[in-house]
């Protein structure tokens, strides 16, 4: 396999300064496995035994099990996320399950990157460029929503935590990593941020 280069590699995050009094922690996890899946009810029935959990059927919902999360992207459209390294194996297993059905299974791992955010000011920081209702009442742990941050498409996954210490994984196209990272730094300046690399 060719050498994999993170979307923010040119920003040299290891040596990039954090601010004082950091309330927000940010890091990039560039190589999570992401597999796109599209299909109808027959595809859902075929892949659920392979995944070992039910696919989400409505906006905001996720399905989870054995280290994976499935994000609802559209009415017949999902992204399944795993820890790095299993993408080829997962995609192959899904393709075999869907043989003969009208479907699409696409390895998106190189197309998208993940920026992980943690800390109390997270909602305010995201609200600097994202029009979603991010109030704790509307955006809750376990949810996933698509929108934009500034001009960039983003998927926000509220992984865990509570209103005081939320963890959100932001997925965006790898080529937007520079734009999104700097946008977040700029928005987080007033709260302080710590870069973890």
């Amino acid at each position: 396999m060719a050498e994999r280069i993170a979307g923010t590699s040119h920003l040299d995050l290891k040596n990039r300064p954090s601010t004082r009094g950091a309330q927000l922690r940010m890091l990039e996890r560039p190589f999570k496995a992401k597999v796109g899946l599209r299909g109808g009810e027959d595809v859902i029935r075929a892949v659920e035994p392979v995944l070992g959990f039910a696919l989400p059927r409505r906006v905001g919902e996720t399905g989870s099990g054995s280290g994976a999360h499935a994000f609802w992207i559209g009415p017949d459209d999902w992204i399944i996320v795993y820890e790095p390294g299993r993408e080829a194996q997962i995609a192959q297993a899904l393709r075999e399950a869907c043989r003969g059905l009208h479907h699409a299974v696409i390895d998106l791992s190189e197309r998208m990157t993940t920026i992980c955010l943690e800390g109390q000011p997270l909602r305010d920081v995201l609200a600097a460029g994202c029009p979603l209702d991010l109030h704790p009442r509307a955006f809750r742990p376990g949810m996933v929503l698509q929108s934009h941050l500034g001009k960039a498409n983003v998927i926000l996954h509220y992984v865990a935590g509570n209103a005081d210490r939320p963890f959100v994984d932001l997925y965006t196209n790898r080529s937007f990593a520079d734009y999104v990272w700097k946008y977040l730094e700029n928005a987080a300046r007033e709260f302080g941020y710590e870069i973890v690399a």
Binding site: P131, L132, S147
Partner: protein
């Protein structure tokens, strides 16, 4: 900012959407048989009503789906939203 209700995602900010112009334009079955005038009509001529207008929207920075909305062009108020394949009735509902 307008709030637009995607049939799949619910109410979202206008900035997540792209407008696709008038809804219900049917592509001619046999374009080669059309006169230049009729083809021009299909490609370019659109209503520009003052009031109720059926138009297409795409939830571009959301679920990516196209749908139809009925909007009052005077007040900018949306009257109804319909997923692809569902037509608004004469009253725009």
């Amino acid at each position: 900012m307008l709030l637009i209700t995607c049939p799949h995602c619910g109410p979202r900010a206008e900035t997540e959407f792209r407008n696709g112009g008038e809804a219900g334009i049917v592509r001619p079955r046999d374009p080669a048989a059309l006169s230049d005038g009729a083809w021009t009509g299909y490609v370019f001529t659109r209503q520009n009503p003052k009031g109720r207008f059926h138009e297409r929207w795409c939830h571009a920075q959301g679920c990516g789906r196209w749908f139809t909305a009925v909007r009052d062009t005077v007040t900018d108020r949306f009257l109804s939203f319909h997923p692809a394949g569902e037509q608004p009735d004469e009253a725009g509902r």
